[in-house]
Symmetry: C2
Subunit: 351 residues, 2 copies
Amino acid sequence: MGRGAISQLPAFVDARRDTVGPRAKAVYLIDSFFARQPDLNRRLGIRNDDVVRYVDTTNEPTTDGIDVLTSEIQGELSNLPATIVGFGGGTTMDTAKAIANLLTNGGNAADYQGWDLVKVPAVHKIAVPTISGTGSEATRTCVMTNTKSGLKLGMNSDYTVFDQMVLDPDLTATVPRDQYFYTGMDAYIHCIEALAGSYRNAVGDAYSRETVNLCRQVFLARDMMSDESREHLMVASYLGGCAIATSYVGVVHPFSAGLSVVLGLHHCVANCIALNALSEFYPVEHKEFRLMMEQQKVSLPRGVCASLTESQYERLVAATVVHAKPLTNALGPDFRSILTDERVIDIFKRM
Amino acid sequence: MGRGAISQLPAFVDARRDTVGPRAKAVYLIDSFFARQPDLNRRLGIRNDDVVRYVDTTNEPTTDGIDVLTSEIQGELSNLPATIVGFGGGTTMDTAKAIANLLTNGGNAADYQGWDLVKVPAVHKIAVPTISGTGSEATRTCVMTNTKSGLKLGMNSDYTVFDQMVLDPDLTATVPRDQYFYTGMDAYIHCIEALAGSYRNAVGDAYSRETVNLCRQVFLARDMMSDESREHLMVASYLGGCAIATSYVGVVHPFSAGLSVVLGLHHCVANCIALNALSEFYPVEHKEFRLMMEQQKVSLPRGVCASLTESQYERLVAATVVHAKPLTNALGPDFRSILTDERVIDIFKRM
């Protein structure tokens, strides 16, 4: 952890090559944002016979997409790789985690969507986040949308956790400001939901509190992207990921999931759009969120649910209220008496 | 984590028996404080053919002591055990960690004192802390004094980390108040030293800050042993252990080590005695520490360094200033110009 830490990545990869065998290849999954960056191979320790794939983050991972990529990578390997490096944001890191599980467990990505279905340890993997907030570097899941069923669910397993990570805040200096804000808010929103819920434990609360504190320091500062702020947000992302492991979300994430499933919005911006319309459930946090947006001069997409069809609104309702666990956490088991169809649609129309 | 969580321990152990094989025994290392507690076998899921040892915590672990215990336990096992449960404080948990490493790696405890000398994964192990503060449940070390050389150093290794833990604050309800305070202060003192040092990183700082916050809540509360306080301190211990992994201590721990090595004082009470005499280096924290003692009506042993021989004072100085890394962290590379022999002895005489 620290500025310039990325210079240690080649040594970490080489240590794995030494352990596994002199001819062991490494697999690099790299956010396509970095595709044309000069000198990248040297900085990441990529050798000529390593397997490199640039991950297109236009869409978030799907089970079919993971299967195709896994099979391509297998085609370039005669043995298991020394390690898999996930260099990018949540999409890239989650892709690395899923492929690492599949290379040793076989089968298809959809076979492992759920809890503790991964049977044997994954290939060694290293997280190098280049944007902060999702916490993928810390969590035991890798979220994928099932291409057939539409189910958005990860491979929740101890084997999904990264073996090593390199946290270098210099890597987030080139992130577009809006994207930086939305993604950072992923950590903040998760933790304010967890702290407002009824399913709580003291470890999760401690992680959430410190994450929220760090996010406040970052997003209420003069510049959320100063060297200091980027370092703080990288820590918030990691600790927020640790918080996820032992807590539940609340009202924001179910609405956000609706936006993702029905309208294809990315997770982080969808979270922000949802919180922005949910002041009635999170009055204090909503006010702070608006203050942060103002302070950082960030704007949100507007009218994303304007002029939808009746059937689209119905699907939005269904994709929201299906999340019974977080909604119970926030509103109690009777949450449908609070979140009636009409009220849910009304909230979406405000977005 | 939570009150009553101990009721889940038998299921965790049985899951390991199912994984390893129907005849697999479990090993239980239990603080001798609990030796005559009725119903303990049922509560911990102990079966008739399991291996149970009560750990005497009069003295902290030594390499020879670990070797003897390991060999006794091996004598009762025909195969590797399903799991090792460490039920107790830092001494008991560290003993469990050391034995788990030795059962798979062979050799003697002293062979692995250092960094990353453990070669293969340890036996599965579960931490059940019954007193809060040392952070042993979270760390990658198990501190032992080398019987021959006097060196106090653990087996620092990823393999030393527990696989599971049960954090049940009900278990700390019967701890004597003084001991509860001294041990809880282990977490506090480590973190205030880390936050005052020059070797820092943002992850360690976050863990340390939250640990100090929790300790303040506990020790400035009306009763440090209320249900709520005991839960908070259990989390502080865990997060303080996480902080240790990525940070360095300062002036308190070297003086405390002197007290342990030369006078045989236990780590946690020695820390408190040292901080109590080090107001010149930690004025704010020293004041807070005194306030906590007063609030909880806890007292410290006095005059522990009175009427020592010249040679004992010399050994105290040597055992203190040998800790160059933490002293540099706190005072810079020139720390010996600040901590002259005379000044060190003067500080010890105040204890």
